[in-house]
Symmetry: C2
Subunit: 200 residues, 2 copies
């Protein structure tokens, strides 16, 4: 046991949130018990409750972190002018991001979280909606300049964007993280692009 170090609440909250995401990635939402989270964060279990009112608050914090990460991903392409290129970068970055943070799909798409708790569900819903709108906006740009198929509605093209990633991740999770998501990214993108580009 090393000497204990006093930290500010902000630091601890960040550490605990990250530890929670980590544990969720390894053991799922159910496996993310207070004991596990505390141990991953390097604090005592009781100490969790100095920095969060209860476990739900910790999960909320995780969801909010994910939300802001997604905002960052969307934000990284604002200067790119070609919408198709924008989508491609976002697509690949999204896969990379998930590959490095397995906890994310396990949080966002955890039926339990969504079903059991109205509060959490609302948060997750908003987060996904926000991301969805971001993608949709790019898609509509793409349709306007004639790069993307205009006979499909933007909603559908966006759904396919997220759906493709979503299912790829599901398969990846089920196959014990193999093959690497990022290895599949290029192929996935090529096929998706082929599906939604303008046809004549």
């Amino acid at each position: 046991m090393t000497k204990r170090m006093r930290e500010t609440t902000e630091v601890r909250q960040r550490q605990i949130t990250e530890a929670a995401l980590q544990v969720i990635g390894q053991k799922g939402i159910n496996g993310a018990t207070t004991v596990e989270i505390a141990s991953a964060a390097g604090v005592s279990e009781g100490n969790l409750y100095r920095h969060f009112r209860n476990k739900e608050e910790i999960i909320i914090s995780v969801i909010d972190k994910i939300g802001s990460d997604l905002v960052a991903i969307l934000g990284a392409v604002v200067d790119v002018s070609d919408p198709l290129k924008k989508l491609e970068i976002t697509f690949k970055r999204h896969l990379m991001y998930i590959e490095g943070n397995v906890g994310i799909p396990r949080t966002i798409f955890s039926e339990e979280t969504i079903v059991a708790n109205e509060n959490l569900r609302a948060r997750v819903k908003n987060t996904i909606l926000m991301y969805f709108q971001g993608i949709k906006q790019i898609v509509e740009q793409g349709q306007k300049i004639g790069a993307l198929d205009t006979e499909m509605d933007s909603q559908a093209i966006t759904s396919m964007f997220i759906g493709t990633i979503h299912f790829a991740v599901t398969r990846w999770l089920m196959n014990n993280f193999s093959p690497k998501l990022t290895d599949d990214a290029e192929g996935l993108w090529k096929n998706y692009a082929r599906a939604v580009i303008h046809k004549d």
Copy 2:
């Protein structure tokens, strides 16, 4: 309390399996406690253990039921000759099936189940793989006769088929079952078909 009725193990197993699927649909995998399942099945909690070794066996039974339902959905189109029509029927039937059995996505795509238990994960994986292969076969037929795009690989077209459904279901779940999945089915299909048909 009505008079208790003695039934054979086969009958009870079926009832319990269906009750479990029902409860999972309403309350998620976590909400499907032994008390809840027993009460939904109309038997005592202790009696569950006359017909199943443990809760895991009940969930396995649920997964197997889903598997055989999916086989039935695939089997329903063997006589249809046009592959595109086959896909369309399967697509819509799949959505209808899920709409009537919310427990299915909540079982199959429950990260918890998949993460926590190697046994369950293997089952779910096999079930999805089986379905995936079934769809892929139809897709390849479609490519052979030139109805579907031959420049996309069949794997990708199949992934998009399931991914589209998967994400539509996720949104539907998150939005409290509205709008009705089957109301969206036509639009979803039209867009999907547009994405994967042969381009010239």
